[in-house]
Point group: none
Chain length 117, copies 2
């Protein structure tokens, strides 16, 4: 019941590195190798914008080639799985021209700042 140092948390998302297991709201969510590594890279930098180049380096162990859309495709896959496991919450946010940012937030904010960047 230990596993505190090798466990990353962010809201209801928990990643146990020792088990390669991803828990969302307490339930195990099956991830492929790429999905797992990309999610790990995003959560490890939660709250900050991470460029595609860096995400690719972290999850693919290679440098992103021009025109490669792999990161976009896998961000989409992660969004689908996370949304399915915990509807009504947005985890991965797009920052146009910069990259992606992981942060557990309600998917619909009311009268709040839409000018964030």
């Amino acid at each position: 019941m230990e596993a505190a140092s090798d466990t990353m948390r962010s809201g209801d998302v928990e990643i146990r590195a020792s088990d390669g297991l991803v828990l969302v709201a307490g339930k195990a969510v099956a991830m492929s190798v790429r999905e797992y590594r990309l999610l790990t890279a995003l959560v490890a930098r939660q709250g900050r914008i991470v460029s595609r180049e860096e995400l690719y380096r972290l999850a693919w162990d290679a440098s992103l080639r021009r025109g490669d859309r792999s990161v976009d495709v896998y961000v989409h896959k992660l969004r689908v799985k996370l949304e399915e496991a915990l509807p009504g919450r947005a985890f991965i946010h797009t920052h146009f021209g910069f990259g992606y940012r992981f942060a557990p937030e309600p998917s619909r904010a009311f009268h709040n700042s839409e000018t964030d960047r």
Copy 2:
């Protein structure tokens, strides 16, 4: 030896180490030596993903050689026996590229109005 409780439980699966006995939903299920050791290894780590290498080390007392499918074959045998003893429940889950995870969960029957052709 092990002075702790020699009985492991997980849902409706009970393993009595002192007797080498496996009970599923109260009924005794006959297991071979390999099946018993593999099941024990899985239940001892229930809820976590266990790699084939680790399972092989625990149940075979040797290191898994490349291309060896023994773990897969015995996971299949366990699934058959567990499913036979308690239909409609999934115990051993496959994590593609990672390994197997033991957890008593209802087998997927949440989809409706889509089949029938």
